[in-house]
């Protein structure tokens, strides 16, 4: 038993070995392999652990062999992120915190810087025509004023762009704005920039996200944007807008996207980086500033002087033109003047035409309109005007009517009204036919006036009482007037003159009889003689006062009745209207 048991154990052991060999021959797996497989099947954790070592390698191989693409993984990653955030947002927030916060800080600081730059530039521009233009642009373009200001506020010019290998500081490519390069030795400048960057980075122990991004050298600002393999350095004249930083970032990203392999395996050959020319070129930006030119004072003054002179000249021309126009109108409306042409020659206005010699003097009319004789010239030939005003004027000129006669003219008829002497009337009737335009002379107005006139007799009779009421009494044996009588004498003379202030025809002149009264008492003859002397003496006084001798007649008269109207030794008067020879 024990032998058989031993045999059976040996056999069993042998058969296990053989069975194992047989298994290996059939399956290609030995017991150990099967045990591991069984373990994977029965123990998921062990299986997962095993797979975890293979999975990353497998995925990498699949990506390398393009069996799967990153694009195919995006939905899975996105879904996973969504689920994770939905379940517990804090986890993802904690994960992203170290990345997000610096990024947010940087974004905020850049926005603040942009705003401050904008504000500075806006203030710098102040209220100017340019800014006013921006406001109009904002009104009509639909953009906000702030947008217009921001787009115009920055004045800068990118002079040179360097692409620098980050590790070595070697200049990979360089491009300039076409003018003289600011950096004469671009290779050395690139290396120095790289060294400065390294120095700053290491010396100040700044955070990785706060790399050196700007260096100011005189009027130039060097803007630095760093990528993992290359640095973009731009030399900017003036102040570029903050948005320029975004352009640099995008350029660095594009260069890295296109030439990341070349950057990673850079051995010193820079020719390959000529490919980056278009990207670098995209950084050559500028905004032309409206250069503040010195105000050309002399030109402005000259312009103002010319403008002032031109304005004054224009004013004078217009004013003169207006005056001349008024004069022209006045001349054309003036009776007896016909203007046929007016022309400007030698700074004078020449009026040509016709003028009746009796028409108004054009020079006089010029003065009425403030036109100096130096400004105008009249070339007016004489003619006879048949205008009513001129015919009347001519009638007045030729007939010379007295002040008491007024002439008027209408439709070929000359009218005369008023008081006139027969002499003038006769003369006028003889001469009116010589006046051009006068066909008939109507003197009805004169005739009527003549009929109303009192006759000589009426006139004398009306004046008679005022004279015959006078009488002068003399003292005994005197022929002289007393002082009182002399005053009375003057009044008497006035009355006499009134009588003779009349148009007497030569054959009907009134006379004044100076009658000296006396009496028969004593020697009557001597009395009469003495009275006659008194009368003569009185007539002499009257002659001295201007009364003509011809109209004075001395007479004597005896007082026979005590009731006589006149006392003895007096002089009275009688006015007689008769022909002198009848006196």
């Amino acid at each position: 038993m024990s032998q058989s048991g031993k045999n059976s154990g040996i056999f069993s052991s042998m058969s296990e070995v053989k069975l194992n060999e047989l298994r290996k021959m059939i399956l290609g797996l030995d017991t150990e392999d099967l045990r591991r497989l069984a373990l994977f099947v029965n123990d998921p954790e062990a299986f997962a652990e095993e797979i975890s070592e293979l999975l990353p390698v497998s995925i990498k191989l699949m990506l390398d062999k393009d069996k799967i693409s990153y694009t195919a993984l995006i939905p899975i990653v996105e879904s996973a992120l969504k689920d994770s955030i939905k379940r517990d947002p804090k986890t993802i927030a904690d994960i992203l915190f170290p990345i997000m916060m610096p990024a947010i800080r940087k974004a905020v600081s850049e926005d603040l810087k942009k705003m401050i730059d904008s504000l500075n530039s806006t203030l710098e521009n102040g209220f100017s025509p340019k800014r006013l233009g921006w406001r109009f642009k904002a009104m009509f373009s639909g953009m906000s004023y702030a947008e217009i200001v921001l787009s115009n506020a920055y004045i800068f010019r990118v002079r040179q762009v360097f692409l620098i290998h980050k590790q070595s500081g070697i200049l990979l490519n360089e491009i300039s704005d076409g003018e003289d390069s600011v950096a004469k030795d671009a290779d050395m400048v690139s290396s120095m920039l790289s060294a400065i960057k390294d120095f700053v980075q290491d010396s100040f122990k700044v955070e990785q996200n706060n790399e050196l991004d700007t260096i100011k050298v005189g009027q130039f600002n060097i803007w630095i944007e760093q990528g993992p393999g290359a640095i973009l350095a731009t030399i900017v004249e003036g102040n570029a807008p903050s948005g320029f930083r975004t352009i640099l970032k995008e350029t660095v990203e594009r260069i890295h996207l296109k030439q990341s392999y070349e950057l990673g395996h850079f051995k010193g050959d820079v020719e390959i980086f000529k490919k980056s020319d278009p990207y670098l070129q995209s950084c050559i930006l500028s905004e032309q500033k409206e250069k503040k030119q010195k105000k050309p004072v002399i030109i402005i003054l000259l312009f103002v002087a010319i403008f002032g002179f031109a304005s004054y000249w224009a004013y004078l021309s217009i004013e003169r033109s207006l005056r001349i126009d008024k004069l022209d109108t006045a001349l054309r409306g003036e009776p007896g003047i016909i203007i046929t042409d007016d022309d400007n020659a030698n700074s004078k206005t020449v009026f040509e035409g016709l003028r009746d010699p009796l028409a108004a003097d054009p020079t006089y009319i010029s003065k009425l309109y403030n036109v100096d004789t130096s400004e105008v010239e009249f070339v007016l030939k004489p003619f006879i005007s048949l205008e009513d005003e001129l015919i009347l004027k001519r009638a007045n000129y030729l007939l010379q009517p007295p002040n008491s006669v007024i002439l008027s003219y209408e439709d070929g008829v000359l009218f005369a009204i008023g008081e006139s002497t027969a002499e003038w009337l006769n003369k006028a009737l003889r001469e009116y036919s010589y006046i051009y335009g006068v066909n008939k002379f109507n003197i009805d107005g004169i005739a009527k006036s003549g009929n109303d006139k009192p006759s000589v007799k009426t006139h004398v009779e009306s004046k008679r009482p005022s004279i015959e009421n006078f009488y002068f009494i003399f003292k005994y044996n005197t022929i002289e007037l007393s002082e009182t009588q002399k005053i009375k004498f003057n009044s008497f003379i006035d009355e006499v003159e009134n009588v003779y202030n009349f148009d007497f025809s030569q054959d009907s002149v009134p006379v004044i009889i100076v009658l000296a009264h006396t009496s028969y008492e004593g020697n009557a003859i001597a009395n009469k003689k003495f009275a006659f002397e008194r009368a003569h003496q009185f007539i002499n006084l009257m002659i001295e006062a201007g009364i003509p001798l011809e109209v004075l007649v001395p007479k004597t008269d005896y007082i026979e009745d005590i009731d006589d109207a006149y006392p003895v030794r007096s002089i009275s008067f009688k006015v007689a209207y008769s022909k002198p020879e009848e006196l």
Binding site: H165, K166, Q167, S168, G169, I170, L171, D185, D187, M188, S191, M192, A195, D198, F199, Q201, D202, K267, G268, D269, V270, E271
Partner: protein
């Protein structure tokens, strides 16, 4: 155009700046001016009909108080470790700098320059020291910036080695 960055490393006053001045400007000055930070020069040499623009980073001398900024070494294709033949202590600093270069720029060609060969009688470094460096696999060239001995050769040599690498 090939561009290569070469860094000059070494203790203070070993003659790094003088070697570059001699090579670039063919000048030498007895006046010692310490380098602060880094100064960069360039010169184009022709190696095997290829123009090679050498960008020479003259880095301040290292001593106990001022260590070389490792970032200056990054990206270099060649590295001169300059040793003053009259000061054996500069070998120690040189060796330390070699180690730094190997860490930061492992692909950089290292050439050791034993400078001031014009006053070789004053040297206190021994042939054993030099052999020791050579045995480590570094090319060692004895130069004199003052006497213009082997300066151009050294730069041409390192350029050749960089191109062959």
């Amino acid at each position: 155009m090939i561009k290569k960055k070469i860094v000059m490393l070494g203790s203070f006053a070993v003659g790094k700046t003088s070697l570059i001045q001699r090579f670039v400007n063919s000048m030498f000055s007895e006046k010692y001016q310490t380098t602060i930070g880094v100064k960069i020069d360039q010169k184009t040499v022709i190696i095997d009909n290829t123009d090679v623009n050498l960008l020479l980073w003259d880095i301040h001398g290292e001593d106990d108080y001022q260590k070389v900024n490792p970032t200056y070494i990054m990206g270099s294709s060649g590295c001169f470790i300059v040793i003053d033949g009259t000061r054996s202590a500069t070998i120690t600093i040189g060796n330390e700098l070699i180690e730094t270069v190997k860490k930061i720029a492992p692909n950089s060609v290292v050439v050791v320059l034993i400078n001031k060969s014009d006053i070789k009688e004053e040297w206190d470094i021994t042939n054993e020291d030099i052999d020791d460096l050579r045995n480590k696999g570094y090319e060692v060239i004895e130069t004199s910036a003052k006497a213009n001995e082997a300066v151009e050769f050294a730069f041409n040599r390192i350029s050749q080695l960089m191109l062959n690498k």
